[in-house]
Amino acid sequence: MKRILTIFLILILAFLPVGCAQKSPAQDITLKFVRIGNDAAEAEYWKGLITRFEAKTPGIRIQYDDAAIGEPMETKLNSMFSAGMGPDLIGHGIMSVAARAVAKNYQPITKYFSTWEGKDDIMPSVLANGTYNKEVYGLAYSTTPFVFAYRKDLFAAAGLDPESPPKTWAELKEYAEKLTVKEGDRIVTSGFSFPKSAGNFVEFDCFVFGNGGRYYDADGKPTIDTPEKAEAFRFLSSFLNEVSIPFSNTEVNPFVNGSAAMTLINNVALTGMLKNEEYKDKIGIALPPSNEGKAQETFAGCNMLFVGGDCKNPDAAFQFIAFALTNEEVMKRATDLNIPVTRQSQVEAFTALNPMNAVRAACVANGTGMPRTTWAASFQKIRNTMVQEVLYGKTTPEDALKNAQQALLDEIE
């Protein structure tokens, strides 16, 4: 026992100072950078980018950190900002823009943006994601569109043309019913895989957008209770229970382990499947089907670089943003990580990389993200509840929409 104690005492003396002795050379500017998402491949890419940036820009050092998507990231940022030590650079999503811009966690970068070489090249739909109250706050480094994915082999087996995925809701329903394989009551292969619960129910948004619907108007007022959403609900309720195996979109979609023929899925979630020998040639992707006569649209998330409100060196911080968005880095992300490009001039080169990239780029161009409003977080919760109430048959689509609109207005007040 005494020996163990002694060892521990030595360890205290030896290691307590380690944490404290991390000051960088006094002359350099050190920028703290916190990015959302912490999977190994992306983290490695960013560490490489930082090395390249520091080699090219002496005098600026970047201290990199990341946190898992969702509450871990918010927990971390909120603690740091409350203690007055917010990071200088933040990599974060669309939902954060309005709330954190209003709270002065982000500072506007419009003046740097207006002299930036790439300002006319960035895709308008992508630029809009980082703009709030006419000021530019964030510039996108990655987009995460939802694509419509389907299994060509199962299409062929069911007598459908593997090269023409459904374009309309009516076709989607017809195909889904044809593709579903049942043993008694049990669905063995799901015709169309749609989540039954979700961290963020963006799969429903795909149907809203594909029916010409939006969640808020030009003034930023919520417009949840509209007929095109009720129509989307009625369409989904008319067949989902017969063709879908329950899952949560925070877990693995049954499509990914081979037990579904069609689904809506985050582009990056397909990566593993496309590398898998068993599936890689059997998968097709497309824009999601839309209602008769409406344009095919989808949900597309997007992650951007922001300059923190506590940052003392916004010039240096923007230099880093500009570096991360140079042509070389954008193409490197496209090649290494399959991330769709965000600059118009590169779409052609991106399309040439991989036959699926044309669809990915189309999904970005026709994609809408989460609301850019201060009430985005409340919206996410209320929209999730609303979708579940209808899918579980608790209320009619009309009542659910009315309640959701009211609940959101209450929260905003």
Partner: protein, 286 residues
């Protein structure tokens, strides 16, 4: 005889209930991603891929993560055990003014969910006087943020150990104190030379519980370590890196989880002799 048989079946039931999920974890940790994704989810790994373990361990600096977790959990366990036992003894055996309200206060400390004290506690750490470049009033620097001390200190304040030690000391015969008093021992001496040596079963159990809690903590290290570069990253933080936006790398995640939980099992096995010692050596207090 029937009691024996019943006891055996009871034990088998518990072993199966606890063991099956463990075996699944082990099996998944040895499978390939192709097998995990294949339509027929097989229970046995085929082929057996031991390479998942080195692969998982090379995702970042795992030696460092394991050391960090062991250091933080070990330090907070050792430092808190003594303080907890001492405080528990006072509450179990000495009468003093305000004892009951103070005890209730200690209990109250366990009742607030950590989620809401997280941000206040973080601010407190950042403003810790005379640390990390701070002045006497806690301004100017980063305080205890990004230090081992910042990770360890809040665990020491846990009420749980005090409450637990008190309850165990209540079971000790009161004659112990009276005998000590006769011998002219002060309270601290009584605690040190009579209670502490008899506390092996309690402290052994408490050590396992404390170590486990600190080892498995996720949110506090997440918030407290911002320096990046993996210096202070703990195992639980690193475990979240085996997934990205749509995919979970089950095999490596389970391999890393096995390694992580083996570390606690080692602590458990080494402490076990203390809290089951009584069985082998007869009762402690006869």
């Amino acid at each position: 005889m029937t009691g024996r048989v019943a006891g055996f079946f009871l034990l088998m039931f518990f072993l199966l209930a606890a063991g099956i999920p463990f075996l699944i974890m082990l099996s998944v940790s040895l499978q390939s991603m192709e097998q995990i994704y294949s339509p027929s989810l097989a229970l046995l790994p085929n082929p057996v891929r031991f390479s998942n373990y080195p692969d998982a361990m090379s995702n970042g600096n795992w030696t460092r993560y394991l050391f960090n977790s062991a250091y933080v959990a070990g330090m907070s366990t050792v430092l808190s055990l003594f303080i907890n036992a001492m405080t528990g003894y006072a509450f179990a055996r000495i009468a003093f003014p305000l004892k009951r309200p103070l005890f209730v206060l200690i209990l109250a400390g366990m009742m607030i969910p950590p989620q809401v004290t997280l941000v206040p506690l973080f601010i407190q750490m950042k403003q810790f006087p005379l640390a990390g470049g701070n002045n006497l009033f806690g301004a100017g620097g980063t305080g205890l943020v990004d230090t081992y001390a910042g990770l360890i200190l809040p665990y020491i304040a846990g009420s749980f150990g005090v409450f637990m030690c008190r309850q165990f000391y209540l079971m000790f015969p009161k004659e112990l104190d009276e005998a000590a008093k006769m011998d002219g021992c002060g309270r601290f001496r009584t605690f040190l030379s009579i209670y502490l040596p008899l506390s092996a079963p309690i402290l052994g159990a408490l050590a396992v519980l404390k170590f486990t809690a600190a080892w498995n903590e996720y949110t506090w290290p997440l918030v407290m370590t911002n320096a990046g570069a993996d210096t202070l990253t703990t195992v639980q933080l690193a475990l979240t890196r085996f997934r990205n936006e749509g995919e979970i790398f089950w095999n490596q995640l389970m391999a890393a989880t096995m390694v992580s939980s083996l570390a606690i099992l080692v602590v458990f096995l080494s402490m076990q002799k203390y809290f089951v010692a009584g069985i082998l050596s007869g009762s402690v207090k006869e």
